[in-house]
């Protein structure tokens, strides 16, 4: 159960954000003004913040800069109508942890917030990840399923690592492409699906219970079998 602060001046967008994050079981507080938002963010002890880029009172970039200067490391998802790459770079440089362009799909927004929350919880850098009988040794770069070593290509290992770090969490194709390949454009066709399919054949091949699930209309999720 996470506490999330939504700083957003547009009432309709704010309602969507609050509804989506609340439905995922979070407690969401909303403010529509930059100054009030900064005050709450500094004192409220939230687990994550969604921050509109353009706000009355104090703009989002200044707000996040002030927050970081005060030593508050709450993860911030910046949400902006400015879609160009320079705006994204500026937002992330100022101290934002992720950047989402308006208009956005609420499930993608929620997924991104979840990833930030997860990162917040596992602040210590792990050397190994595990999910059911799947283990990832991050130092030796080796994956094992049920004790058997999986022959993964470097790109497949990075993909699996991203899924495992965010297990039980829906990850959209865009999020996967951004995190694993590091690019912010639409790779088109079904290139990510093909990579997932290959990884799935290696991880879930044979008679093993499936760990990598397709979430219809959204993306993928790795989850221990029930």
């Amino acid at each position: 159960m996470a506490r999330i602060l939504t700083i957003e001046d547009d009432a309709v967008t704010a309602r969507e954000i609050v509804a989506e994050l609340s439905s995922a079981g979070n407690t969401v507080e909303h403010v529509g003004d930059g100054r009030e938002g900064l005050h709450k963010a500094l004192t409220g002890g939230y687990d994550a913040i969604t921050l509109d880029r353009m706000l009355p009172g104090l703009d989002g970039l200044t707000l996040v800069t002030e927050l970081r200067r005060a030593g508050v490391e709450t993860p911030v998802l910046m949400i902006s109508a400015l879609s160009d790459v320079d705006a994204r770079v500026r937002g992330l440089r100022a101290g934002g942890d992720d950047y989402l362009t308006k208009p956005f799909a609420p499930d993608e927004m929620a997924a991104r917030v979840e990833v930030l929350l997860r990162r917040q919880r596992s602040a210590a850098v792990p050397t190994r990840l595990a999910l059911g009988d799947l283990e990832l040794d991050l130092i030796a770069r080796r994956a094992r399923r049920d004790g058997q070593v999986l022959e993964l290509l470097p790109i497949e290992f990075r993909l699996l690592e991203f899924l495992m770090r965010n297990s039980n969490q829906v990850l959209t194709r865009t999020m996967i492409f951004e995190a694993v390949w590091g690019y912010h454009f639409d790779p088109g066709t079904n290139v990510i699906d093909v990579h997932i399919a290959r990884l799935r054949r290696k991880v879930d091949g044979g008679d093993r219970p499936a760990l990598i699930r397709t979430v219809r209309g959204s993306g993928y999720m790795i989850q221990a079998p029930e």
Binding site: S83, P106, H184, P187, G188, R216, G217
Partner: protein, 477 residues
């Protein structure tokens, strides 16, 4: 045959020479009219003067002849000699001949041929032969028969008139030099100023033709015709810039406006799907979401294209190793190619680094590979090939597909253009007809040359030359 796409260099206007300049040309035309009229005027004066002088000489001759004819025959030779003494310039000649033409007395040796003895003045083109053997070029003569049957001949040379004629002609040539020398020098100097300013305007226009609409033509403090023209063009550029800004704004707005309701629609469908229901119902909803996602992707690409065409993003430029970018593109697309029954091969030399935006270069090459995979039937091959040429690295994406007909190579760059073998496939496979436009925009942003041609095995060849199209002779076909 190839179709050039990005950053095609406009062939420069031939540099105007001084001889083509407006001021000089006007002076030359004016000079030609002046010359023609001068010839007519001076010619008229010349011929009228000569005619007048000939008439005066003729009258003198006639008077002399009638006077001498009235003198008694025995006194005539003495009178002729006395008259001759008075002719200090030696232009008058006299002759007395008998009825058979034999010389009797005077300074003319022989009666000139073709001079009728009618008492009228006639022109003697060959002059007369004097007793001292002299012969002048041109003379006027008169001959008459005396009552005794002898023939009296008088002649006067026209040398005075001829000298005046020569003076008129030389005056004409001096006048001509007055026209030609200051005219040509003045014209050359006059034409230099405007030509220099036209060159200045030409230099100012160069960035405008390359898309920088913020530049204006230079104005001088003189406020002359060139300035008037430049300020008219500047006003026009203001308007063009404003309109283009509006059009771009409208395009962006359309994309934004459409994106919002589509996103809402997608949200509703997503909620519907979450709320549960029959399996068929869920599948239907999923297809709807996929369709909406495809639409959203299309608009994202449109906005992306608009952003790229703004030519504003230079912050990401750095030194990039194209071979590494190619390796990553191959890593991303090899599984997709294999899934389709194609081989995605990488043939790369060691390449020198280029100044580029790594993310955009990756995006351009991804689009090319994605496109090649899409249009190559299985079993087939897509090759990423990088070579070093004199001007820099050259990257080819070759495929074993049907290729792009020469006539369609420019058209495939148009937004939302669908190839003739692509009927209805666009949406189904997620392509949005913008991939190659994005590549062309990225190439233009980098100052690279992008070309579509034919590969050695008949398929399409998409080539990214890491140098401008205008760099003549640097490209090897």
């Amino acid at each position: 045959m190839t179709a050039e796409m990005a950053a095609a260099a406009a062939s420069p206007e031939p540099a105007p020479t001084h001889w083509r300049a407006g001021a000089l040309r006007l002076i030359v035309i004016y000079g030609a009219f002046f010359l023609a009229w001068s010839v007519v005027l001076v010619g008229t004066i010349h011929w009228q003067t000569l005619g007048y002088l000939d008439r005066v000489v003729g009258e003198i001759l006639e008077q002399r002849a009638h006077y001498l004819a009235s003198v008694e025959r025995e006194h005539l030779p003495a009178m002729m000699a006395a008259t001759d003494q008075l002719d200090l310039r030696g232009v008058m000649y006299f002759g007395l001949f008998d009825a058979r033409g034999a010389y009797l007395s005077g300074t003319i040796d022989r009666a000139p041929d073709g001079l009728p003895a009618d008492g009228q003045v006639h022109l003697l083109p060959n002059g007369v032969r004097a007793t001292n053997g002299e012969r002048n070029a041109r003379a006027l003569g008169v001959a008459l028969i005396l009552p005794g049957g002898d023939e009296l001949v008088l002649a006067r040379y026209t040398s005075v008139a001829d000298r005046i004629g020569a003076m008129t002609r030389s005056a004409f040539f001096w006048a001509l030099s007055l026209l030609l020398i200051p005219g040509l020098i003045g014209g050359f100097l006059l034409s230099r100023g405007p030509l220099k300013r036209v060159r200045g305007i030409e230099a100012a226009i160069a960035p405008i033709t390359h898309g920088n609409l913020g530049v204006r033509l230079p104005l001088s403090p003189r406020r002359d015709e060139v300035d008037m023209l430049a300020s008219i063009v500047n006003r026009m550029l203001d308007e063009v810039e404003r309109l283009l800004g509006e059009v771009k704004g409208v395009t962006d707005n359309i994309a934004h406006d459409l994106r919002t309701p589509l996103t809402r629609l997608r949200t509703q469908l997503h909620r519907l799907q979450q709320s549960g229901g029959a399996e068929v119902h869920a599948a239907l909803v999923e297809r709807c979401i996929e369709d909406v996602d495809a639409l959203l992707a299309r608009f994202r690409a449109l906005l992306r294209l608009s952003e790229l065409e703004d030519l504003s993003r230079h912050s990401g430029f750095d030194t990039v190793d194209p071979a590494e970018t190619l390796r990553r593109v191959q890593e991303l697309y090899a599984p997709l190619a294999e899934e389709k029954g194609l081989t995605l091969a990488l043939e790369s030399d060691t390449l020198p680094p280029v100044s580029a935006d790594a993310a955009l270069l990756f995006e351009a090459l991804s689009n090319l590979v994605d496109n090649a995979i899409k249009f190559t039937p299985a079993p087939g091959r897509v090759t990423l090939r990088a070579r070093v040429e004199a001007a820099g690295p050259r990257i080819d994406v070759l495929d074993s597909g049907p290729g792009i007909p020469a006539g369609e190579r420019d058209a495939v760059l148009r937004r939302f253009y669908h190839r003739s073998d692509d009927t209805g496939r666009g949406q189904a496979d997620g392509s949005h007809g913008l991939g190659l436009s994005v590549v062309a925009a990225i190439a233009k942003l980098h100052g690279f040359c992008f070309e579509i041609g034919e590969g050695e095995h008949g398929g399409a060849r998409m080539t990214l030359y890491c140098w401008p199209c205008s760099k003549a002779g640097a490209r090897v076909g």
